[in-house]
């Protein structure tokens, strides 16, 4: 477990760093996908199988393709991703976020169990619980998200629809 944790977090952090360092946008994208996969592995070791698989499905599988298309369709996307002054506020924001998360992680009382106390029965499936909560307590949020996605879909269709000029038939 410890081995898996360190290997996966090493992979995640190293590839995240390479995303930052890589000069080429598509190289950065490839490393980003690697980092997503490492995150999914971390979720799996925490026995959050649904979130792990959703991470692969949504981030590594779909968001990355979206980014590929964004990179392809943006002019000057393949240019050298040189250093700009935006680095400074980005570094500040990232540092602040990292210290916030670190503080919360250290401050929280973790229910830590090791060895014998760690029974197999502690790891129950998360899918049923997530499903119950989504269609029970958080139904409104779920429906709002679906409506939002529907509107995004309709908006995309309206945006790319070919407009017929006046007087032109079919």
């Amino acid at each position: 477990m410890i081995l898996a944790f360190f290997a996966l977090s090493g992979l995640t952090v190293a590839s995240a760093l390479l995303v930052f360092v890589a000069r080429n946008l598509l190289h950065a994208l490839a490393f980003l996908v690697l980092s997503f996969l490492g995150m999914a592995g971390l979720f799996l070791t925490l026995s959050a199988d649904f979130i792990g698989v959703a991470q692969v499905l949504i981030y590594a599988g779909s968001i990355s393709v979206l980014m590929v298309f964004a990179v392809m369709l943006t002019p000057l996307a393949s240019r050298n991703n040189g250093s700009t002054l935006y680095v400074i506020p980005a570094m500040l924001a990232a540092g602040g976020l990292a210290s916030l998360i670190g503080f919360v992680a250290i401050d929280t009382e973790w229910d830590e169990r090791k060895g014998e106390a760690l029974g197999v029965s502690d790891f129950t499936t998360t899918v049923a619980g997530i499903g119950d909560l989504l269609l029970g307590r958080y139904l409104l949020a779920f429906e709002v998200a679906s409506v939002l996605l529907l509107f995004a879909l309709l908006g995309a269709i309206v945006l790319v629809q070919e407009r017929r000029r006046a007087g032109e038939e079919a």
């Binding site: 996908v33 199988d49 698989v53 959703a54 499905l57 590594a60 990355s64 590929v68 899918v127």
Partner: protein
């Protein structure tokens, strides 16, 4: 009809005329060999009787030498290691390695013979022999091909993005192997029996897109990029019908675990292809798009864009792309068998024959269907293919999901034997599917034309009339 003149006997025709059937060949052998064969058959029958006795007696169940389920071996190994007091990581690591070795040997073994099988079967469809010179029945052909590919000079385009050019043949292989994880080969024989097996399958299949795209982009070639864009668009579109088809399966069986889906089908003795014919068709068709096989192989349509996204790859790198196609084909066969054809079960036959052999036979059947499609159907055009996914498969799949949701809620409340609702659902779904497909296709303008009574082409050039005149008709 007048007498046709005899065609001159070409060597090939003579060969066909002299070809003897298997029975004739058997009758031709000598008496001693016949006796030997009878003895062999008798021995086999006796040993089968012995096996039947042991199986019915139930003294085989769960023993480590019960090879109907290789999971028994690992289970006994694990409990033995725990008794011996090994570190708790050792049994898990050992069984994990054994399982991984099993999966890798399945995929690797298929890579060794897969291309031979495909070419031989395809050759039969096209009434020719196929590879038959290298070794017995041409069995060593794939090895010869691999050796040829490996010693070929690897040409790398000077303007290619080196880092991203080397990665894709490896990246694209990962999902082809990872996808085997949740497939149950027998009761205890699944490597990674996840609760979210169906989601895992979809997630893994979406990983291949990136490898394809990076291959096309980094080659710095128009054909490669075009093929990659086509493939990515196609794979992204066809993921939706696949997900909707699997959603119908999950709704009806009430589980996302692959072993539970198989157990459901075994429990009710009902394969899901009978209950959800449209979902099965959607899954099969969309899978052919997902893995780039005919009729949906526009991503690498060789008559249009050379070899699509791997045009610039040569030697074993191109070989890896072809190998991935082979591997994906049987992976999809395994998925199809697991979701829709009852997986490793066969109406009770699995107590007699190892489940993994049944699953392998089903994979073979689906693969045969793929080769059949390849030998029969022409390639779709890009816009036809995308239109088919978005205008035809997705709306009908959504309707089907609604229908199955209603059926599943009825089924969950049903108390008397499950046969009646299941039979009713099967008939209802089949009828509705046919009607729905007919009407929707008609509304879209896909309606099949009334069959032409006379071949248009032959009539246009006067060929048919000329032929009829020659025959005196």
């Amino acid at each position: 009809m007048s007498e046709q003149p005899m065609r001159p006997a070409t060597p090939m025709l003579r060969q066909i005329a002299e070809h003897r059937s298997l029975l004739q060949r058997f009758m031709g052998v000598s008496k001693e060999w016949k006796g030997f064969a009878l003895l062999l058959l008798g021995g086999l029958g006796l040993s089968n009787l012995a096996i039947a006795y042991v199986v019915i007696d139930g003294r085989l169940d769960g023993q480590w030498y019960d090879i109907r389920d290789l999971g028994n071996v690992t289970q006994h190994l694990r409990s033995w290691m725990q008794d011996e007091g090994f570190h708790p990581a050792v049994p898990y690591l050992t069984t994990a390695l054994l399982g991984a070795l099993g999966i890798l040997s399945v995929v690797g073994g298929w890579l060794l013979i897969g291309s031979w099988v495909e070419r031989r079967v395809l050759a039969k469809f096209q009434i020719r022999q196929g590879p038959n010179r290298t070794g017995p029945f041409g069995l060593f052909q794939p090895i010869a091909d691999a050796v040829k590919l490996m010693q070929k000079e690897v040409v790398i385009p000077r303007v290619a993005d080196k880092f991203l050019y080397y990665a894709p043949p490896v990246i694209i292989f990962i999902p082809a192997i990872l996808g085997w994880g949740p497939v149950p080969w027998a009761g205890k024989m699944s490597f990674l029996d996840l609760n979210v097996g169906v989601l895992y399958t979809i997630a893994i299949s979406s990983l291949g897109v990136l490898g394809v795209f990076l291959a096309g982009w980094s080659s710095n070639n128009h054909y490669s990029l075009l093929g990659a864009m086509r493939t990515v668009a196609m794979m992204v579109s066809y993921e939706i019908p696949i997900s909707l088809a699997l959603l119908a399966v999950v709704l009806l069986t009430g589980s996302m675990q692959l072993s539970t889906i198989v157990a459901w089908q075994a429990n009710y003795n009902a394969w899901l292809i009978f209950l959800l014919p449209f979902a099965a068709f959607t899954f099969l068709f969309a899978s052919t798009a997902e893995i780039n096989r005919t009729p949906n192989d526009i991503g690498e349509a060789e008559s249009e864009i050379v070899a699509g996204f791997y045009t610039e790859y040569s030697g074993m790198k191109a070989g890896l792309f072809m190998g991935v196609e082979l591997g994906n084909a049987i992976l999809v066969g395994a998925m199809m068998a697991t979701f829709f054809l009852g997986g490793y079960t066969m109406f009770g036959l699995e107590t007699w024959i190892p489940g993994y052999l049944i699953l392998a036979a089903k994979i073979g059947a689906v693969y045969f269907l793929f080769v059949w499609l390849r030998g029969t159907l022409p390639r779709f055009r890009l816009d036809q293919l995308m239109g088919y996914a978005w205008k035809f498969l997705i709306p009908l799949s959504v309707v089907q999901v609604l229908l199955v949701a209603v059926e599943a809620s009825i089924f969950a409340r049903w108390e008397t034997p499950a046969l009646f609702p299941l039979a009713a659902f099967a008939l209802l779904n089949l009828g509705l599917t046919v009607e729905m497909v007919r009407r929707w296709a008609h509304a879209l303008g896909y309606a099949p034309e009334v069959a032409q009574q006379q071949p248009v082409m032959a009539t246009a050039i006067g060929g048919l009339k000329a032929a009829q005149k020659m025959r005196g008709g």
